[in-house]
Symmetry: C2
Subunit: 322 residues, 2 copies
Amino acid sequence: MTDMEKQFVVGVDVGGQTSKIGVVDARGDVLVQSVIRTDGHEDPAEFVHDLAVAIRELVIKSGKEGQIRGVGVGAPNGNYYTGEIAFAPNLVWAANRNVPFAQLLSAALDGVPVSLTNDANAAAVGEMTYGVAKGMKHFIMITLGTGVGSGIVINGEVVYGNDGFAGELGHTCAVRHNGRLCGCGKTGCLEAYCSAMGVARTAREWLEQSDEPSLLRSIDNITSKDVYEAAKEGDELAIRIFNFTGRILGEKLADFIEFSAPEAIVLFGGLARAKEFIYQPTYEAMNANVLPLWRGKVELLFSQLKESDAAILGASALAWEL
Amino acid sequence: MTDMEKQFVVGVDVGGQTSKIGVVDARGDVLVQSVIRTDGHEDPAEFVHDLAVAIRELVIKSGKEGQIRGVGVGAPNGNYYTGEIAFAPNLVWAANRNVPFAQLLSAALDGVPVSLTNDANAAAVGEMTYGVAKGMKHFIMITLGTGVGSGIVINGEVVYGNDGFAGELGHTCAVRHNGRLCGCGKTGCLEAYCSAMGVARTAREWLEQSDEPSLLRSIDNITSKDVYEAAKEGDELAIRIFNFTGRILGEKLADFIEFSAPEAIVLFGGLARAKEFIYQPTYEAMNANVLPLWRGKVELLFSQLKESDAAILGASALAWEL
């Protein structure tokens, strides 16, 4: 069998706590999947060893031995050009060093090709291969998770830039003066407002600033999910939090449209599940702030991929290009 | 002679008042050039006729008849995909309509191929072909003229986006609240602060707001050139105007770097001539506002192309791709 005849790929989504593995076919069906701990190791070689063992076991379980074209990996701070995971604060074994991850994993799998990128770029490739961006040449993926990530597609290709790190739209400036401190050390970043943590922070700040009644007052350690649940109950403060979040997001989306003139912006991740509250304010602010020539012309879409499969699919899609 | 053996191109820079024409060789030398009026016609067909006559005359003068590979045109609101100039407020004959310019000009030149783009994209192609960005695959051109334009190059290609209009960085938002009204109808655009008109406006506003002595007080209808001349004389207000302008520009450049991770940003146009005053504040603000991973890593360059030739060269460079 030649490499091009191999009709299955493996997708690996490396997260801070766990890593998800799946064997995927060309239609985007995840045949089998499994999970291993990411955080049990200090040494990257140990994690790579465990991951290789788990991949081999899963491939055997799928019955597709010898038919795997390659492995695609999505990981925080993953660099497509170098195959390295560099100084990723959320990965114990890569927090303070540069790990040649693709090379290590390929060696541990007896030379099976491995392609790696960051998680948001993987999500963009997944959306383009299997999702709402199928057939699009120009779109921007925004992942609204714990942080805000992005994957930019121009002419059908993910933009990696000169060094492989392009597409850090979560750290463009949303609030110029007296903005919130972001995890990256800067202030006012989009991520500090429009991530799950940003939404929770808005809730805490607003609850402190007034005595307005709200379902959120009874909750300790408010999360963005709590805000969503309260909004569904009709809580006015919670609904205003989504309006505020959507406005800030939409204002920045207008800037992004003026950069690359995409067909669509695709939202993905935990906050995107609150579509009924976030769509309208985001879409309105995007159109109010963009040049007239794009007003009403750029679609604002929400990922339709099954949440449990999406991360694996995104990573696996990389492997088709190998 | 086959088309590929034709070793000369024509560059046309269409401006509001005049259009410059040049015959250019592969090294980027402008052999001969001429100028015609742009604003003498209401009918686009009449202007195209005059332009075609002027191009023929210039080619005869250059002695390169039959050796012209094609014509490249840079024009406000020029669309690379469609070859149209669409609703360009500064062009009398295209202010209220969509002119199929490339098609009309090619027909008037008996089928010589014509390629068209907007002036900032043409400048980026010129810089990549003949200028400081030669050999670069990833850079962003910012033209600081009457307005602020941009041409974005990723993987060695100008980004045109889904509709041909990508790269309107002059209209991304620099000042979110209570920003200046921009010519485009939005408020707070980069162009409203960092164009020649923006600098003049800053001068007028600041002179009104204080009684601080300044050489600028004696001048009617202050231009950005006046501010530059005053700064060269050591005028403190004028120097602070450049610091302010550079800071706003640098803040937005940080956003742009986070989008496409370029090797360099190239500044071009009238304001870029004030390099000794604009470089330092721009570079400092860019690095203070960008993610640590890019700090000190992205070059801030100034175009070295001869001012009189640059617009023609930029447009002509398009024709090599024909």
